[in-house]
Amino acid sequence: MEIHHYIPELGNLALTFAFGFALALSIVPFWGVRKNNHPIMELAPNLVVGQFIMTAISFGCLVYAFATDDFSVINVAQNSTSLLPFEYKIAASWGSHEGSILLWLLMQSCWNIGFAVFSKQLPKDTRTLVLVVLGWISVGFYAYVIIASNPFERTLPYFPVDGRDLNPLLQDPGMIFHPPMLYLGYVGMSVPFSFAIAALILGRLDTSWAKWSRPWTLLGISCLTMGITLGSWWAYSELGWGGWWFWDPSENAAFMPWLVAVALFHSLIATEKRGVFVSWTLFLAIAAFSFSLLGTFLVRSGVIVSVHAFANDPERGIFILGLLAFVIGGSLTLYAMRITHVQKDRTQYAAISRETTLLMNNMLFIAATIVVLIGTLFPMLHKQAGLGAISVGQPFFDQVFSWLLIPFSFVLGVAPMMRWKQDNLNRLFKSNIYVFVVSLILGLAWVLGQFGQWNFTAIVSASLGCWITLISLRELFKTAQKLGWAKIPKAHWGMIIGHIGFAVTLAGGGMATQFTDERAVKMHIGDKVELSGYTFHLKDIEATYDSNYEGHGARIEVLKGNQPVGSILSEKRFYTVQKTVMTEAGVDVGFTRDLYVSLGTQFDDGSWGVRLYVKHYVRWLWAGGILIAIGLIIAIADKRYRRKTGKLQERAA
């Protein structure tokens, strides 16, 4: 037998070694910290490197098994097929439960090594302890993968000649990048979490941990934002009815950590700059990662999503629940016991101050998190209490969120220009009332001018979008006048871009939910259908195919008046291995509107059922998400973090 036959065993072996490194990391340097033994503490980064290399080898072996169609591995046989296009074979490595947890571990070890490399300027005990806490988290997950969810299990001695194919829903470019991004974000929250735990253990509850954990928090949220944005984009293009957010438990699972993480990093600003909200910020740091774990549990254990249920295998669910109870329960208990030692707020602040607006930001974010948590868990509670199955859906969330978003967006506009410590309501009123009126007029003109409808939701979201954008831009110009364009801090740029990103999403979301024109029609080849000023002309039905599906594609030419606007191919695919029919929506992308065509089935008379949509401003949703992610990345590059670290090094030296 040749060596490549043993690749899955090699992967398993590497995984076991990685577990060994994580175990050593969680025990040995911890002992070093307790004994204040520097050489032993120095081991921590090396153990992290070992853990990373072994995990990367293990993951590489899994990818290799998928790439080479090794159907003797159960995971490959169930989630891939020889005819699957190559890029999806690679993506199938994380398309299954087992593979996705291994991906989670790879991401975790990336963060661990990233932290080990960029944290040399921190005090040695803090740095070591953060790595140890990261090790504690890893150990649990390695144990889970090895014992309960091993991706390298074989089907031997009788293995299938071909696999069952990857779920066709996951065969989309969005799905290649969405899970790694999301997991990177989830796991990223483990760094501020570990900082908080290390601070609690060391009893060093001053504000320096806030400063050190800020860039890591920013990077984590940036990944999380991209992951959620990609997920939403995937749902829109793949699920075939033009929706982009469904308040589905698996979406809520990603949304909750995002909400808490954003609250966390705003609270970190106040803690770092003014020394206030220290215990609250610590709590948020624990909560953000706890919600990441909770989200993974909800999606991966099957307590909520019945289609993935482990009804026949509750072992895994119990294992993850135990892990959850240990990590979250343990850290919350530690918090409860140690938080009394936290230093009191260093400074005072008045009711009208930037501190207060940041507090309001936090309250609204936490309120939103609680709403999502209740909406997600309530159906389960209801059923457990014997009151029957119910679902909490779109109408509940939409209504509650619209009422949370209005005060939130209003405060978001004013907050960045508020002064720390104390501000003057009169000054704020005078300098902003014009902007507010202009925003209202712009919002009204926008909605009435384009759609001619008195739509309250759309007008409010458009106006608030203008409000945030105008104030942010004014703030930017003011800062430029004061410092000159070149000297504007990166963090400031990041904030402006992030806030404008939110405004873009807000305005886009308001418009997209309120103004969608939709028609379901029966079309013969050659038929023309009008929808809100566009003519959809069904030119032809083409045969479409790839290695693992065959189907039909409707070629639709779109005209506005007599001007051709675009040509759309909307497909109905039949995946031959899974015997599943999938709709691949065709979209003509535009700055202010998407033309979205979803092909239905053919009727006996030869005509085709076609759904046509004109969706206004739907691109803005994702554009906003991308802007937020970019803003966060720019903020990380801020000189302040580097300069501060420089100072620290001097002090250490």
Binding site: F283, A287, S290, F297, S301, G302, V303, I304, S306, A309, F310, A311, P314, G317, I318, L321, L324, A325, I328, G329, L332, T333, Y335, A336, M337, I339, T340, L377, M380, L381, K383, Q384, G388, A389, A520, K522, F603, G609
Partner: protein
Amino acid sequence: MTQLHTPNKQEKSLIIRFLPVIFFACIVVVFYFALFADPFERPSELEGRPLPEFQLPDLYTDGVSYSRDSLLGEPFLLNVWGVWCVTCRYELPYLTQLKNEQGVKIVGLYYDQEHDPEFGIYADVPKIREDVVNMLSQFGNPYHINILDLDRDLLLDLAVTGAPETYVIDADGKILLHHLGEVNERVWNEKIAPIWNQL
């Protein structure tokens, strides 16, 4: 006199500090039980509610129609079915046995899948009648009467998700049970008979 205990400041902060832990512990307990719950168990919202009002034609005879009131007076099973439904074929012989041996009154609610006027597709009623007669003569006819609900008025009101589905309805028209899927000997003995025998 017993003195009421008022928590002092330190105790209060203790409660607040441990509040997240307590809250989380409750969530873990709920999750633990949820892990063992049957995810496919969907208790019907309709149980305990009255059968909705309707006015629908007979499956076989033009001009004959039924309403809610015309069915009441004695308990019966309302069975949703269609010739296209494969499971119904397995169910028909058992239902027929129930009718013959225990005198269970069974009302058929016929579910047609084709009818879709918005797309210009109209059900071919004579064809349906022919198929129904063929199928019932082959597998047994358990039905006291058969109601045709082309526009899915009653089907929607009853929250039907597919076929077969069976409702137990008492003499006053109250829905006592909504069963999804096949009625067979096990389902009858374990789920339906305990309710039916009390009527």
